[in-house]
Amino acid sequence: MRSTTVLKSLVLAISVGLLAMSLTTTAEKSAAAPAERSLAALLEVGCGSCHSGESPAGGLDLRTLSDDLASADVRQRWVEIYDRVERREMPPSGVAFPEEKRRALLKRLGAAISAADRADVAANGRGPIRRLNRDEYEQNLRDLLQLPHLDIRDMLPEDRQSHHFNKVSATLDISWVQMSAYLDAAEAALRQARSEGTSPPPVTVQRAVGEQLSVGRETTGGREAMFWVRHDRAIDLAAEKKAAVDKSRVDPTISMALFRSPGWPYGIFPKGIVTRVAGEYRIRFAARARHQFADFTLGPATAPVPMTFRSRRPTNHDIAEDVRSIGGIIDVHPEGSTGPANGVYETTVHLNAGQTIEYGLLGLPAPQPDVMGVTALYRYPPFPAAGQPGIVFDWLELTGPLPPASWPTPSHRVLFDELGPDVKSDQPEVDARRLLRRFIALAAREPVSPEAIAPFEKLVLTALSHGEPLADALLTGYQAFLASDLFLYLPPPRRESDHFAIANRLSHFLLNSRPDAPLLELAGRQRLRDATVLRRETERLIGSREFTRFVEYFTDYWLNVRALRRDDPDIRLFPEYRLDDYLVESLGRETRAFFEAMVRENLPATTLIDADFTFANDRLARHYGLPPLTGSALRKVALPPASPYGGLLTQGAVLKVSANGVNTSPVLRGVWVMDRLLGQPPPPPPPGVPAVEPDIRGARTIREVLGLHTRSASCAACHAKFDPYGLALENFDVLGAWRTRYRGLEEGEVVAGIDQTGHDFRYTLAGPVDASARLADGRPFRDVHDLKRILTANPRLLARNLLHQWTTYATGVPVRFSDRAEIESILDTTAGNGYRVRDLLHGLIRSRIFLGLPGEGGR
């Protein structure tokens, strides 16, 4: 196996050039010698007494361990040995090993591994070209074709993840499945970019008044959820209709009062409003926040009620489909307060053909069938004395598709320049050549040589000669280009002159898309290796609106925020969270807003763990026990000095995804904290070990259950590392609310009632939470406050983790052994100012890890 790899690299090296070959072979020779010496070093200090023989400890036999450090697999093995010695895990406790011996050993090992790794980088480059993942591909096409709402991502298979990200070169494989999908997606995108017809589709205004505001006269949730109202009193619309002489007459004095968020099994959308073509639409509606009372009368509301629209087909609810929130969150205000004049609200949304809009009230969950499957019986909790908040709608208007800025559309001009909607030309062949070159220049993220354009040109001209219309012939060529390796792959910067590769790496890092015109212009002028220019461009991208894409994708994968909705909390234990999608949504936005602030405000790396502020809205203020806020918009709020919140570590979103989402688990949370926040992923669990689950009867605390770990030496070795972090977070429930006692179902003080969605609940308050523990190095802590103090005392560790995560995300290659020194030097230069996040970002971007080593890859 090894010999074939060496052979292969030799063969390739020969084909690349004699110079490369001599580099490869010298590299291998020079790497082998120190490796032999480092193996000897391990044996000298006595590692061989355990790690050899019939059954070597940990399966590591130093007598058979390969010393061919030029092989990546072997090198990886040696890196593991190095790390375990460096972390003082080896030799095991009880074996005397003087500090100077350890240092000497690490120095020898480190030098050998580093030399071999550097030789590999010099010969082969730090990492290979990387395929665009499907999010990047979609964003590239959106930007290129000027179609901001292009929706082709789901046509492409989801990309695999490794090291938490879907941006790792080695994992972004391609097979005929992806290839076919890229061709399909490119075709669909180009079709959407084309304007057909002499004018844009006509704009229509669809209006719903009174009873037209909903297809149904009532809802599954009963009058607690929705009713028809005239002059603030519920009316029996069905009876009125029956008695009416003219049944088609629409009574504008009727309004629709909504008090629960519709969701399956019912959704409320206006009657007869449906789009005929896809496009931008404007929704206008008249509404006000009102309170509902027990006799189904309405009275004044005290605070705005947040709502959102959702796009969907106007179908029976039994058809499962993609229902998406659109148009953002709108706070509907009480009459005559801070809301818009006349109580008329407006938002712009993108709708596909055949869709309508569904009303979604946030924070007022819908009634749903019980999790145990019992047919829905809703028994709402008693009305609050001040009434139940909701929204009254008077009318709604959908206008669209809104006309594009020009006709043909800007995206059509990207394809066909000035040739107009019918793409007519007197000299089709000349125009074909011209437009193809023009499109490739716009689409490629670097200059494309005439030789590389030739096959596409041949394709277009052949199609033309077969009698295809000019537009179709060109689109065939464009489609091919959008599926070519020139478009699908990002090259890594290696040579001094690789400025386009730097521009691409920077924009896909910070914007998840292609470089914009100013960045490409700088690349063309070879200015991006100028530290001042690079810094200015980085600042410009961080300051741009599109930077939120970095915030979203990076937190989605690094912190796994994308899994926020994956599991619902166990509603038997946490009935207050049943269907509280507004809370979950707000938690996700909090984490993103916080991380964005960490970068934009250049906050210290310790804000990962602790901060004196967070971002909150009305719902989060309640959730975290902060002074009340009104409205759905997140704002930066100062936290009381004793608050356990502040820092990513104790945010609800993190606490939800770090457990299993259903209940809490200190083991999972502990592993999560080490892996994602501290950058010290523990080894995977050994085979044949049962998982530890909390005892939800309430009889035993998790601490008692976990006691099993410490009684077995083999379990304790690893669990002692991560359990403590999880235990410190035991004061936070599954969604991050503070708790001092566990909940159970059997033992303890009974709490019962009716939840917001009309279901009975009954749980018990069981034993008290004890969040104290001792870290693996022996440092004790009482609770999360103590732990935060311990963790923030080591900002370098937190900063190092950020650099590691960004390296993988930005370059598609995790930190290599030979990168480590560079990482430490970035840390050194940012230490003085407290390891601030944007400083770290700049440090990485100007490093050789990001910019490539001139001469890398044998050039």
Partner: protein, 437 residues
């Protein structure tokens, strides 16, 4: 002829799933007419087929494995559900992939036997179905079909290419149906042929074009680009075959396509619907190779019986820690799975093809990559093989402490597909004791 499509197993149908199910309207007698004669004539005399079903949490070992081995073994409690097919199946114990550990990540290695799936540097090898498709895939309109229930498409699959690239599973029965039956009218065939030609010329251009003009390449870049060019050649090969097939009439659809079934909690309904799609594919000879992963790991709270849901997700339940309530729910789920499998075998046995039962020409492998999910164990896998014309009716027991490679069974299955090979993955030969009937 439009008998309603009724899910046959124990679950009582709700109004919702009835509405969904009614759309599909399958009827067995109608199927005779569905196979176009020309396709039948073009195939070798006896088509051999394979369906592999993998449940990635697995089932309880104790009630599954029979106590005694050999022929005439007393049925285990679970196998009672398959009593009618006793002579149509062999149950195996003591099989696993040597060295394949890593808990739940091993589902990706089930059909490949590659080790180290839990490592970041893991690279998979070719899966059994793709290996077979390389040999016999061209005999049918669709070389192979890779299905999933609740599957996490990005990261889990039974199907892997020779380069170790994941082939995503299809979890939408409607899409599978469309692939088999298409639209079928002459205009759409012509459009489709034009599309194929157009795409063919695009691929020609892509093959000629390459980064070699613009970039210095290292070995790792070349490896990535090789993969890219391989993907182009593969799409071309598929287009050629598609072109040939597109000229032949498609089988006639047996009714309306199935209504979408997306809710993850309807795990069993989805399982059964996918088996229906597999049956349709075999009956119309649309493909001979199908894999189906039941991604229980990604299945949240699901409907267990009647309208009753489980108390937590499938994975949560699997870590039962011998908690009685969890064990009870898992056992109910196990029995449901086996009942669904039993009715699938019923239907394959009831259907004739030439002188044989469809079942005799179709190997159905049911198993799991988990020996015991509670403790993340990957040895002593629960495996049973039905149909395919083997001499069944036995419990083939291999040592529990020194497992026989599961790939040995794969070699026997490949040979049954008339693929001349005596090795696959980590095999040491074909499986001793499994003879042709």
């Amino acid at each position: 002829m439009n008998a309603p499509f009724v899910l046959s197993h124990a679950t009582r149908l709700s109004r919702r799933s009835f509405i969904r199910g009614a759309g599909i309207a399958l009827a067995l007698p109608a199927l005779e007419a569905m196979t176009p004669l020309r396709i039948r004539a073009a195939t070798p005399p006896v088509p051999r087929r394979m369906l592999v079903i993998v449940h990635n949490i697995g089932i309880f070992a104790k009630p599954f494995f029979p106590v005694a081995s050999g022929r005439g073994y007393p049925l285990s409690p679970y196998l009672m559900a398959l009593a009618a097919h006793r002579e149509d199946l062999t149950v195996f114990s003591g099989l696993s992939h040597p060295g394949v550990t890593g808990g739940h990540s091993t589902d990706n290695s089930f059909l490949t036997s590659a080790r180290g799936a839990f490592k970041a540097s893991f690279r998979n090898t070719i899966s059994l179905d793709q290996y077979a498709a390389e040999q016999i895939g061209h005999l049918t309109r669709i070389p192979s079909i890779n299905l999933g229930v609740n599957i996490e498409k990005a990261n889990r699959s039974l199907s892997w290419t020779r380069d170790g690239v994941l082939l995503p599973a299809e979890d939408d029965a409607q899409a599978v149906f469309a692939r088999m039956f298409g639209l079928g009218d002459q205009t759409s065939i012509e459009t489709s042929l034009r599309q194929i030609d157009r795409r063919g010329s695009i691929l020609d251009a892509l093959r000629e074009q390459s980064r070699r003009f613009s970039l210095p390449l290292g070995p790792a870049d070349r490896q990535r680009l090789d993969q890219y060019f391989t993907s182009i050649r593969e799409v071309e090969g598929r287009l050629r075959s598609l072109r040939e097939w597109e000229r032949r009439p498609r089988p006639i659809a047996p009714g309306a396509p199935p209504a979408p079934l997306e809710e993850k909690r309807l795990f069993f309904e989805k399982f059964e619907l996918m088996l229906r799609m597999a049956e349709l594919a075999f009956e119309t000879d649309s493909t001979r190779l199908i894999t189906l992963m039941l991604d229980a790991f990604q299945t949240p709270v699901f409907r267990l019986e009647g309208e009753r849901n489980t108390t937590e997700g499938y994975h949560g339940l699997s870590h039962h820690g011998h908690d009685e309530a969890k064990v009870r729910q898992l056992e109910t789920a196990d029995r449901q799975n086996l009942a669904i499998l039993a009715s699938h075998l019923d239907r394959l046995a009831a259907r004739g093809e030439g002188p044989d039962r469809l079942l005799d020409r179709t190997m159905v492998l049911f198993g799991s990559n988990m020996g015991d999910a509670n403790v993340h164990n990957n040895s002593n896998l629960p495996i049973l093989l039905a149909g395919g014309g083997f001499r069944h009716g036995q419990h083939l027991a291999f040592p529990r402490h020194q497992n026989t490679p599961l790939s040995n069974l794969f070699v026997s299955m490949l040979q049954r597909l008339e693929i001349a090979t005596d090795a696959f993955g980590s095999s040491t030969g074909s499986l001793t004791g499994l003879e042709l009937g």
